[in-house]
Symmetry: C2
Subunit: 387 residues, 2 copies
């Protein structure tokens, strides 16, 4: 744990089959005016909308709704929420849905009382938050983004074709998050596997940095092993409660900052994917799946020992089966096999990317890197390798 850190995560998580029973006690802590944020109606199909409305009514709340939040939530929608919060003097934003809904709610929470232009101040200039935050609560129906227990909010500005995200201080963390794995049963398989790979990618972005001997790396390996194991069970039987509950908790752990403590972190795969998403509106997990193996093949020699460790500890590759390079590559092959096993795409073409988009994506992606600092030429080469 060579790098100093501060850890503070005040989200109260209620997890399990009966987690919704905690909603009334949580609601009781806030004023009466609630903005209910949700997506395109999945929560109505599974009966969750009616249950939540009933609890809100019993708690004497006045409810205003923002519905139809898209899977890559847009700045336009977020600003519609900001208008509703201002006009209705909202006391609590309740997000019911997947990570996009939670991200949208946190964006509204942060922006409603912002002086000036929120996009410019918070998503472009990364300014410190100096305004009042409207508290957010969450009832989660999808596992993957980890947004339920952190201060991140990824928003797409359609006009500017920029998908911007950052982690804000923990004061925009949801105050509470209700996680019932049974809600994830109804999610289409493509979204389940997208969430699984989103989780895997969060773990890898934090894992593949540093030459250090860090307890956090051992934690990450544990979460990766559990994720892979449970993913295989859930692929066979999406109704397996134990597997789906593990997948849900792995997603939370992967991004609640406990798996990044004292790590330098990379996040370049996410930076490239954000721009891929801005151009194609592809599912986040699918974009990450296409980019990951070519990205890591491009940089693995710069962090060889860690890629060897990944191969042997996470994928069970025999440590004596070849040279360090061969073992590292065998680990990345295993990662590629896992992506195919999940049924996720492996080429940019499958995501609707055209060849003309590649230079624009490479140009607009935030440049960074973990074991190697990347420039526009590097990113273009990686994109071509994915095409």
């Amino acid at each position: 744990m060579n790098l100093d850190f501060t850890f503070y995560n005040p989200t109260r998580v209620h997890f399990g089959r009966n987690a919704l029973e905690h909603l009334p006690e949580e609601l009781a802590q806030y004023g009466s005016r609630v903005l209910l944020v949700y997506g395109k109606g999945a929560i109505k199909r599974i009966g969750l909308y009616d249950k939540v409305i009933e609890i809100l009514k019993e708690g004497g709340k006045t409810v205003v709704e923002l519905s139809g939040v898209k899977s890559n939530p847009t700045y336009t929608q977020m600003m519609e929420g900001v208008r509703l919060v201002r006009e209705n003097k909202i006391d609590l934003i309740l997000a019911v849905g997947g990570g996009s809904v939670v991200d949208c709610a946190k964006g509204i929470s942060l922006s409603a009382h912002c002086k000036g232009d929120p996009w410019q101040r918070y998503w472009i200039n990364f300014e410190e938050v100096d305004n009042e935050i409207v508290p957010v609560g969450c009832v989660l129906t999808m596992a993957g983004t980890g947004s339920e227990m952190n201060g991140g909010s990824v928003i797409t500005n359609e006009e500017q074709q920029i998908k911007g995200g950052r982690t804000y201080p923990s004061n925009i963390n949801p105050k509470f998050s209700i996680l019932n794995p049974e809600y994830t049963f109804s999610v289409p398989k493509e979204q389940m596997v997208s969430g699984i790979f989103d989780t895997m990618s969060h773990l890898m972005e934090q894992y593949f940095t540093g030459e250090d001997d860090n307890t956090t790396d051992y934690l990450i390996e544990g979460v990766m092993e559990s994720l892979i194991h449970s993913a295989r069970i859930a692929l066979q039987d999406p109704q397996d409660y134990e597997a789906r509950s593990n997948l849900m908790w792995c997603a939370t752990l992967a991004l609640n900052t406990i798996t990044r403590l004292s790590k330098a972190q990379d996040w370049e795969v996410h930076m490239i994917e954000h721009q891929l998403g801005a151009y194609t509106d592809c599912p986040h997990g699918a974009g990450l799946a296409v980019l990951s193996v070519p990205y890591y093949r491009y940089i693995y020699k710069d962090g060889l020992k860690k890629f060897v460790r990944f191969a042997t500890k996470v994928w069970g590759i025999d440590a004596h089966s070849g040279s360090e390079e061969q073992i590292a590559l065998a680990g990345l092959d295993a990662l590629g096999d896992f992506i195919r096993e999940l049924g996720l795409p492996t080429t940019l073409r499958e995501l609707g990317t055209t060849e003309e988009m590649l230079p624009r994506i490479a140009n607009s992606a935030v440049k960074g890197g973990g074991y190697r600092q990347l420039d526009e030429t590097d990113i273009l080469q990686i994109l071509k390798a994915c095409f």
Copy 2:
């Protein structure tokens, strides 16, 4: 994650070489009257006492001191702290020292405004806390108990010969904890290894329950692996910052409740050790070291698959090297070897236990268990196997 849970841990942890720089900003959040709690003077020898006093003075605080807290903190000392808090209208209790100092501070915090007899209400009857809590902050100098990020407080009532402990709601968690691994450099080797084994025992108490496939078990294995790895480095070089920092963070993770989520948990080794401590005042980690292998040998057949998993995943025993029973026992042998490697005692005699004490310890220990529910006869048999 089959068992429902609520996770909420609002302690703000500042970790690293410069962690003390955060003390002023933390102190600024509380009133001016501070009770400084510490042990027998180790913090003076390493210069930490002077630094903390300077920061307190610069922050304009009025300081009252409770010093000389023992390694198994006593109820008498705790009640002396209660008196000081009441007489001086204390706003913040600042614990500077090891886990015993923190436990004592939390006990004072809980009891100062208690209506009625705190020992009877909170340590014997486990009543719900219905009084105001005096906030606690912590500057930690030893790694092991994990008290820096939870609501537990283990106190010994010398008169009644009972060492009582329980985890209270997270409102008695320290509000902040400052963890600088360099402070642990000066701790004598016996205390370092006692802390290491205390951590290992906390992990095992949570791990050895359930037949479930739980993400938490993977996390625990990760922490165990890191702990064992760093312990071996620190035994060779106690000044190795990376190893000592890992040991410190492992200790926090082992008892900040993240490694128990959705686990049934055992804690019977701790229950027996508490009474061993009440009779002999032995170091907690040393008591746990003596009891653990005989305890697990006594129950391993009831949780055979988990003991096999422990052997193969944590200790690297070849899964094909024998029958399940042989592999499980080989894992417990490896645990025993690790205890000897740490230089910890392996018999009750070494702790000053007499044969006459054994029935009294067996009688007074709280009865429970994980894979097997134990009665007094069982505990006596285990104690005899340790003698």
